[in-house]
């Protein structure tokens, strides 16, 4: 996945000691605001297939940084609505085909900007139509496809769960109606992706990977089955695997013998938070690592120091800092990667 990168690079400001680093809130806000203005760069156009994702990542970061209105609401509403297809699915950008991932991001954006009324204006019974698009992607064995072309992945299952949950269409949110998805079949599939080391993979038989751990644990959390399924022993086992992701630099990797990357501050951090074992990491060292990945002059956060920044690593670095309790950063919901005060309104199982 490529993203419009730079111009900044992760580094410590000149003349500053590592311990003195702070989160450069204003620079990050300005960086996010500037992203849509870079239409004179080829990479901007080459990453159009990710645009709605970029907007969700940027908007979430802005919320956590205390600047939820830094991107104009009307512009966001117009853009999201222009990605909507007749079947209720959203594409990554206007004209791009509908896909469960981009539908998920769109629903998250609409939730954060309180845009469902505007959705209904464009598409009567819109929430129901979007929920139906998602529900129709469930396969007979419980897993979810991304679109009509059939690729399946635990990421899509997680997308389905959190999207329906935000729309209010998870079966537990409508107990008097027939369920539009088969939750037990879906969670059975997640459990089939569970490995002996406590982690989860992309499909049954696949090795544990932090990204998939987040999506599987997140999905179980949204479905209200996390505690009952894992139990203390399962949480210990998973927590052990996750805690081993922290390397000497303080940063986290995605699986054994791989390089550290700031985005794992989120995938690993949120998973640990969801199983009450975030204290199994050295929080101070992780915080310092994330701060070193910032560009303190131009804003934005990179995957590791010296590399170029992008909006994906920016939001996951900031969300990671939120989990770690960094002062001034808004509280994030570890299952949804959205502001906690907004997800607090969701009806849980």
């Amino acid at each position: 996945m490529s993203l419009a990168a730079g111009p900044g690079r992760g580094h410590i400001a000149e003349g500053q000691l590592p311990e003195e680093m702070k989160l450069v809130v204003d620079k990050h806000v300005a960086y996010i605001q500037s992203l849509d203005t870079r239409r004179d760069e080829l990479e901007y156009h080459l990453t159009e297939h990710l645009r709605i994702g970029g907007i969700y990542w940027g908007l979430t970061a802005l919320h956590l940084l205390g600047q939820p209105d830094a991107l104009p609401r009307e512009g966001l509403l117009e853009y999201v609505r222009s990605c909507l297809h007749e079947d209720g699915g959203f594409g990554a950008a206007p004209g791009h085909d509908a896909h469960i991932l981009y539908t998920g991001y769109s629903v998250q954006i609409l939730t954060m900007i309180d845009g469902f009324e505007a959705l209904e204006e464009k598409m009567p019974d819109g929430k129901h139509k979007v929920a139906t698009f998602v529900a129709n992607l469930q396969q007979s064995d419980g897993r979810f496809a991304g679109d009509q072309w059939g690729e399946t992945d635990t990421r899509f299952l997680f997308s389905a769960f959190y999207t329906l949950s935000l729309l209010g269409y998870m079966p537990h949110q409508r107990p008097s109606e027939p369920p539009i998805i088969d939750v037990p079949a879906a969670t059975a599939y997640i459990k089939a992706c569970h490995n002996f080391d406590g982690g989860f993979g992309v499909a049954p038989g696949a090795e544990s990977h932090s990204g998939q751990v987040f999506t599987c644990v997140g999905a179980l959390s949204v479905a209200g089955e996390l505690d009952s399924y894992l139990g203390e022993e399962g949480k210990d086992r998973l927590g052990a695997w996750l805690s081993e992701r922290q390397l000497g630099s303080g940063g986290l990797n995605g699986r054994p013998e791989k390089l550290v990357d700031v985005c794992y501050s989120w995938w690993v951090g949120s998973s640990l938070a969801m199983i009450d074992r975030l204290h199994w990491l050295d929080k101070a060292k992780l915080t310092a690592f994330i701060l070193q990945c910032q560009d303190p002059e131009q804003g934005g956060i990179a995957d590791r120091p010296e590399d170029m920044v992008d909006v994906f690593h920016t939001v996951f670095g900031i969300a990671g800092l939120s989990l770690l309790g960094y002062p001034g950063v808004g509280e994030v919901d570890p299952a949804y990667c959205m502001p906690k005060h907004i997800t607090a309104k969701i009806q849980r199982p």
Binding site: L42, W149, A206, S243, D282, D303, E306
Partner: protein
């Protein structure tokens, strides 16, 4: 992800007028190509010309998933037309098809699929972690399976086994590759009529197990290969109709293999995870590690815990700063004491406290976890 791990060099943002101009031209060209493709597809122009344009666009941007969808629409259209025209094949087509032992329509479809598989190869080499490319490959093989006779499809799938082995040779940790390999193996077994209920047991399990041995021998630190090996075990033992003795011999051989590897490099985390896996197969509370032994009860569990605690203890000699050794000793001793609370002198509380103290010294990053462990083990 292109934005992971590659320090992008060369992109300067203080661009000269010339550089900006050049970039604008590239943008204009890209947008023109895009507009052309989208316009044609919207007008349902599924001609070869359109197809070639999608090739151009995808080569420039293989993550433009909508264009892969369009490419598949065109292919589906061609396949449908081939099948519809089946009654009137060209002379050339009929002769080639005859030679291949396939009806003309299927032969044409096979050629088109092979061509598209070829098209993907350089893209796959350049972007080995791009979901969309692997997915299109999967789709092509799926289409082949649907349209061709089993024999024709199996040959293609077997070709894929070679392809994925090459990709894993280039990067043995590429999980897209391992996932694709699993898919390929399952398909070959299913289409060859081997194995039970399409679960893919029997068939290729022996050569696949041998493949993991080869991967491990060429590079011990290959977590993905060790993981795949662990996943193959239940099917392997069942296909060998392994009895109690055979299963025990197998487990003992695996312990020997991993112990030897650990002596080569006790600091390699992947090896310790595999050792943990073997131990987990003895533990009924780990549902994700099905038993290797049969029967596998508390007696067997105790026996191997005993054996491995001794074995791991010896590894300390010369590797006193290796955190994984202490972790293993604490984990296995803890389990041992759960099964045999008297400990039978095997492990003393003094030893456990000492190991934990060393671990906290060596691995302060995870101090929160070690404090919890201390509480849990009542040390």
């Amino acid at each position: 992800m292109g934005s992971h791990g590659i320090p992008r060099v060369g992109a300067t943002f203080d661009k000269s007028e010339q550089a900006r101009d050049k970039e604008w031209k590239q943008i204009a060209q890209y947008q023109a190509l895009e507009k052309d493709v989208v316009g044609r597809v919207n007008a349902k122009d599924y001609s070869d010309a359109t197809f070639q344009l999608t090739s151009q666009l995808l080569t420039q941007n293989p993550e433009y998933y909508t264009i892969w969808n369009y490419r598949r629409l065109i292919l589906q259209d061609v396949f449908a037309r081939e099948l519809a025209a089946a009654d009137h094949p060209s002379e050339q087509g009929a002769a080639a098809a005859d030679k291949a032992g396939l009806p003309p329509a299927q032969h044409e479809i096979l050629l088109l699929i092979k061509e598209d598989l070829q098209f993907l190869i350089p893209l796959l080499k350049q972007y080995p972690k791009c979901y969309w490319i692997w997915n299109h490959r999967s789709w092509l093989l799926g289409a082949a399976t649907k349209h061709l006779l089993a024999r024709g499809a199996v040959e293609l799938w077997q070709g894929e086994l070679g392809l994925v082995s090459k990709m894993l040779g280039l990067d043995s940790r590429n999980f897209h590759g391992w996932g694709y390999r699993r898919e390929v193996v399952q398909a070959i077994e299913r289409l060859s009529g081997g194995g039970d209920e399409g679960k893919g047991s029997g068939g290729l399990v022996e050569p696949e197990f041998a493949y993991t041995t080869k991967m491990i021998q060429s590079n011990l630190s290959n977590f993905s290969a060790w993981h795949y090996r662990s996943q193959l075990m239940p099917a392997l033992l069942s296909s060998r109709n392994a009895d109690t003795a055979a299963r025990q011999a197998f487990l003992d051989a695996e312990f020997e293999l991993i112990t030897k590897a650990l002596y080569t490099d006790p600091y390699d985390q992947s090896l310790w995870f595999y050792h943990q896996y073997l131990m987990a197969t003895l533990n009924p509370s780990n549902a994700q590690a099905p038993p290797i032994l049969d029967p596998c009860g508390a007696a067997e569990h105790l026996q191997y815990l005993d054996q491995e605690i001794e074995s791991v203890r010896e590894m300390l000699d010369g590797a006193e700063d290796c955190k994984y050794i202490y972790q293993a000793l604490l984990e296995y001793s803890g389990r041992y004491l759960e099964l045999a609370p008297e400990g039978e002198g095997k492990v003393t509380v003094t030893e456990l406290k000492e190991w934990l103290r060393e671990l906290r010294k060596i691995d302060p990053l995870r101090d929160g976890r070690w404090r919890d462990l201390e509480g849990k083990m009542k040390l």
